[in-house]
């Protein structure tokens, strides 16, 4: 299968899953049931930013499926492949929105799920000043907890904001990575679809700080590409769905670095099998230069630790 075919297939799968999830939610709650993420003024941020439409109910969410469908056009070119990637992002948002529509509290410790507007606003300044030099999205599973911790701490040390999705969360815990917003390591959720919660961070950054008008997809993608220094590490076996989500990341301008055998795409999809090199490969791929010189002391020393209270007994 060509890389684009893998993406199209993954996007179709995501769409099918979204359809089924919406149907189940409607079944359970009725089409008038309210749909919203907590503490945001941007409705379902991805759909809102891409289309300018705010979604209020499950019925409206069901209608939004056709937008996703229209984005999946399996023609062999980059434009269509990226659109399919965006479709996957929208499907993920739809699925995640259903979780919030159906359950009272779909996410619990250690997972954060949806990130509130307030948090994003608090991250805005350090992102602009470069105090947060980048945003790493690490998803999947590293070969061991040790490798996982090494990578995550590698970013943490440099002050990057790290989001975790999937099994890597457990590996991080096992590897004794200190987590939390103030430590700049945020586990999002175990399902692949929870990666959308970091996507919406980037998207809301464009809406809030970039004043990108909702519905202007082109400008949105330009902003994320130029202004949000994010990248993705996709570790462990890659399903078609993950690959198509990766295409979504690429559409936003975020390179994807993986430890798996895939057809590389110059600049955007890079294979790095040496786990010791994943961090520098990723930083170079996103053009992230670290402002603070690393200090070689045993404890990670960087902005990520600013929020950590040093307890007396330490």
């Amino acid at each position: 299968m060509t890389l684009f075919d893998i993406i199209f297939t993954g996007s179709r799968q995501a769409l099918e899953a979204a359809k089924a999830t919406v149907a189940a939610a409607v079944e359970k709650k009725g089409s008038d049931a309210r749909v919203a993420f907590p503490e945001t003024a941007y409705s379902l941020p991805t759909i809102y930013a891409a289309t300018g439409k705010k979604i209020g109910s499950l019925g409206e969410l069901r209608d939004a499926l056709s937008i996703v469908e229209s984005l999946i056009v399996p023609e062999q070119n980059l434009e269509k492949a990226l659109n399919a990637g965006l479709a996957t992002a929208l499907s993920a948002e739809i699925i995640e929105a259903c979780k919030y529509a159906v359950e009272e509290k779909p996410y619990s410790e250690p997972c954060a799920g949806f990130i509130s507007d307030a948090v994003i606003r608090s991250l805005g300044v350090p992102l602009v000043t470069g105090d947060i030099p980048g945003v790493a999205v690490v998803l999947g599973e590293a070969p061991s907890a040790e490798e996982a911790a090494k990578i995550i701490k590698g970013y943490q040390n440099k002050g990057l904001l790290v989001f975790l999705v999937g099994k890597i969360i457990d590996q991080a815990i096992e590897g004794k990575v200190k987590m939390g917003l103030e430590l700049r390591v945020i586990p999002l959720g175990y399902d692949v679809t929870s990666v959308i919660h970091v996507v919406t961070v980037a998207i809301r950054a464009a809406l809030i700080f970039g004043a990108v008008p909702p519905g202007n997809l082109e400008e949105l993608l330009k902003y994320t590409k130029e202004r949000v220094p994010a990248f993705v590490n996709a570790l462990g076996s890659l399903s078609g769905l993950v690959v198509s989500a990766g295409a979504g990341a690429i559409a936003l301008g975020f390179p994807v670095i993986t430890d798996q055998d895939v057809q590389e795409v110059p600049h955007y999809l890079i294979v790095q099998k040496d786990y010791d090199k994943i961090v520098p490969t990723s930083l170079e791929a996103r053009g992230i230069k670290i402002k603070i010189t690393e200090v070689p002391i045993p404890v990670g020393f960087a902005a990520a630790f600013e929020g950590e209270r040093v307890r007396k007994e330490d």
Binding site: T2, Q76, L78, H267, Q272
Partner: protein, 628 residues
Amino acid sequence: MENCACNTCDAATKKLYEKAKSERIDTIWDRALAMQPQCGFGEMGLCCTNCSMGPCRIVKISEDGPKAGICGATEDTITSRNFARAVAAGAAAHSDHGRDIALALYHAGDKTRIRNEEKLFKIAGEWGITVEGKDTVQIAREMAERALGEFGKVFGKLQFLQRAPEKRIKLWDELGVAPGAIDREIVEVLHSTHMGCDADYRNIIRQAIRAALSDGWGGSMIGTELSDVLFGTPMPKKVEANLGVLKKECVNIVVHGHDPTLSEAIVLASRDPELLELARKQGAEGINVVGMCCTGNEIAMRQGIPMAGDFFQQELAIVTGAVEAMIVDVQCIMPSLATVAKCYHTKLITTSPKAKIPGAIHIEFNEQKSLEIARRIVKDAVMNFKNRKVEVFIPDDKSEGRIGYSFEAIIKALDRVTNSFAHPSGTVKPLVDAIKSGVLRGAAAIVGCNNHRQPHNTCHVTLAKELLKRDIIVVTTGCGAHACIKAGLMDKDARKYCGKGLATVCELLDIPPVLHMGSCVDISRILVLLSEVAKYMGVDISDLPVAAAAPEWMSEKAQSIGLYAVASGVYVILGVPPAVTGSENVTGYLTKGLESVLGGRFEIENDPVEAAAKIAAHVENRRKRLGI
């Protein structure tokens, strides 16, 4: 602009054509018109003049006309012989050019005249020339001798064939088309197409293939490689193009032709402070050297000298009234220039013993005294400044573009997207990845001339634009390059014509979507690029999603180029049919049969939009075969 008799999409051309008309100067278009209707026998390749029993012609349109020449040669024999001879002539032109460059290298004399030692050493390594204990000049001399040997060596195959992918080399050997000495192959075509020799069209074309391959992988490649050694390997730079680059207040010198030995020397001489001072004394603001056709491409690629125009614009340059001297060497120089120049103050100066024109001033150039002669020529031009006769009219049309994409420059650009922690640098890997992933669908070369049978430049430009939107990256040389830069296709802004994939690649590599790779001999650079990509992928050139087109071709050189591309495994679209259509067998062989033999073939398609669709279909077909 459609209604203009000159049938061009280029504004400067149209304006100057009209000026020529009003001044009653005949140009190429007028002569083409006067020639109508052109002879159908010649057009179809059915006319033979190879012996004095002829001329003979095969009559196809009626039952009772002759179906064989006086000697018995059939339409298959006659058309294939004519075609083979055209190819041989084209190969001869390129090869003689290559030889002159080799001679120039031989006579380089001192180290300062070898501007690219790195490449010298690289080729020396490739050819097994030991460098230890030798100085640069010695190595250059030895290399030049070896290169000159390629033209007439008695045994063995051409050195540069080794650059091809293994599968290709093997195929050539199996088919018996791997060329030996360059001149030998050309002579053999002339021999076997003599009356009473080869009558088997397949065998005649096989001979032509050997001659063509001796051009692409021999004469042209030697010309390019050694020009780089002598004058530097082109690297990206900005240049201006079109006749608007002439300057009213300056002494304008147009260098036209092919061999960079002359044009490089003229460029150097034009920077001589003494001559500049002289120019000022004559009332000029400076000396403005601009280039035309392929020699224009050479000095543009290396020195950033403005590209004044293409084949069809050569007369029009003089019509501006602003050209003090047009200095020419060999190939594609219309003899009519002498007549046109007579109406103005322009001095037409021929420089090669191989190409004199009645009515022109002849100042013979030679490699050993190149700068001295160049100074003399430039001085002549300067002294001619005050003789301008008519009112000068320089159209304000010019465009800008980034050119200089040698193979080496392309590799360097590709390095921009390698990740220093994940990838090797200095390879074609990023290009291969872009193609394999589907971001780029493929690559196409647009090369060749201008021809009155096709609307001027329109075909080059339309074809290029049609390819760009399909994410097919375009490389170009020759007058195709002139057309593309004039149309703005080598500008950053040209990304607007591209599909998302190609636009992304251009942005990441900081390149235009149409890459100017040089002059016609520099098509050898394309062969090198194709070979490296094929080798990297472990396939043959014929497996690659690539194609070539010569939408407005006219010269015998173009026929040689087309044939060596086909013989290298490339699908080649010709916008003008070669004179073989009188034989269904020969036409069928070139456009279909050859594919099963060589993996490449010709296609005849004069509509650039259709041509683009065919290239896209071919590219997708190759992708399917590769499973990408």
